[in-house]
């Protein structure tokens, strides 16, 4: 048997080791080796599930979407071209699935950038105390999903601007403007909370 054939056989049938990289696991999945999905799931499911929970605010829905995400990854492993990391690719699939669900649940567009008015009054200058965690957490839940996705991927999952753009399938400029709009909206929401109290 030639070396290439042996390599192909290993990819298709062998049990992947814990040292296998994400890219090697995807290669094996592309050859139909379902064993490669388990280590990939073990590495990334928690992060993807957290991301989905934040976008949908519903753990049961997030669980279904998590399953859909990994099933989609299994079926489309052959289309992975390595332009981004596997983790970013998985976030992209998860975001896509969440987008479908959000559109189905409420027919407003997921990308709500257009709804934001042009820069008007300055962002309220809030004191440090205003950024208390519980209050910010409550305000985050009120952000449009497109803006929240940028903040979650950037700060919770530590993705670079280019990686966020890849995961959300939009230009880098859109990611930057969504971040800017999210900051304005958060500051406004916190100022409103102050006014209510």
């Amino acid at each position: 048997m030639s070396g290439a054939t042996v390599e192909l056989a290993i990819r298709a049938f062998a049990m992947p080791s814990s040292q296998s990289t994400d890219e090697q696991l995807i290669e094996r999945m592309a050859c139909g080796n379902s064993r490669a999905l388990t280590p990939l799931y073990d590495r990334h499911a928690r992060a993807i599930f957290t991301f989905l929970c934040r976008l949908t605010s519903d753990e049961a829905v997030a669980e279904d979407l998590l399953q859909e995400t990994f099933l989609a990854a299994w079926h489309s492993a052959r289309t992975f071209r390595g332009r981004s990391s596997v983790r970013t690719w998985l976030f992209g699939i998860a975001h896509n699935r969440a987008g479908h669900w959000l559109r189905w649940r409420r027919p407003e567009p997921l990308d709500e950038d257009a709804e934001i008015p042009a820069p008007g009054p300055a962002v309220p200058d809030l004191a440090d105390a205003a950024w208390e965690r519980e209050r910010v957490t409550a305000a985050l839940a009120q952000l449009p999903p497109a803006q929240r996705a940028v903040l979650e991927l950037t700060f919770f999952h530590g993705l670079s601007c280019a990686e966020v753009a890849e995961a959300l399938n939009c230009p880098v400029g859109t990611v930057k403007s969504r971040a800017h709009l999210a900051r304005r909206r958060l500051a406004q929401l916190l100022a409103d909370l102050d006014g209510d109290e």
């Binding site: 048997m1 054939t5 192909l8 056989a9 298709a12 049938f13 592309a30 050859c31 139909g32 080796n33 379902s34 064993r35 999905l37 388990t38 799931y41 073990d42 499911a45 928690r46 599930f49 957290t50 929970c53 934040r54 753990e59 997030a62 669980e63 998590l66 399953q67 990994f70 099933l71 299994w74 052959r78 200058d125 809030l126 440090d128 950024w131 965690r133 910010v136 957490t137 985050l140 903040l151 979650e152 950037t154 700060f155 919770f156 530590g158 993705l159 670079s160 601007c161 990686e163 930057k176 971040a179 800017h180 900051r183 958060l186 500051a187």
Partner: protein, 287 residues
Amino acid sequence: MDEHEKWRELLPWYANRTLDERTQTALEAHLRDCPACRQELITWQHISTAVRAQPAPALPRNARHRLAALVRPQPWNDPRLIPLLLRSQLPVIRGEIWPASTLVLALGTFVACAARSAEALPFVLMAPLVTAVGVAFLYGPAVDPALEIELATPVSPRLILLVRLALVFGFDLALGLAGSLALALLRPDVSLWPLVTAWLAPMTFLSALSLLLSVASADSGLGALVSLMLWVVQSMGRISGPNSLPWRIPDLTAAAARPWLWALALVMGALALWIGGRTERWIGRPA
């Protein structure tokens, strides 16, 4: 876009430390001279802290098993794997099948050529029998003594059975075509296509019957024995004439029987593959 705006947009990724070193150094230089950006950076750091401080939900316990139940190995996804699968099953198939099939069909060709019998009858009768006996030995404890290990591999038992069937049936089909071609060349009264159609339908039918019996009983001997007996009786009827036996035997090599033979072969073959893909019955039984 002015210089200040350009740096301001990058503040979230300065806060999460994912900027490349050069951009980070340049942004730090801008921050030293720009109180507005310094203030905004503090805001981003607050947002970052708040986002990271959110509790991460626990992963549902059964999610992994639910996913595993939905995912089936698909090694046939990659067409390059088909030759590999065929090659992997060659050593498992009984080695006697290849020389025995070659010898019997060569003998059939020789006798049909030498005896000058009508319709090359010896060849037409031998091709189905030799294939059916070979197919009977594709399945069972004698072929798969380590079935437990096989079931743990990502290739389904159904696919393995199909690959073995393709090997043995394909080999006999090639021999049958070669023998028919030789007869058509050596005997002016024999035409190639009518000869091929005379043995192909009975060969497919008898092989499907033999495989189904082997798989259903998990006993290769039963499949071989029943197909052998059926074909011996059929051959006696054809050679000695329809009135030589106490009961009437339908002529399975006749053109009128072919649609029925193909239909039955299809049903029995599908049934055999279905049973073969789900059975684990002979685990623990001695080979």
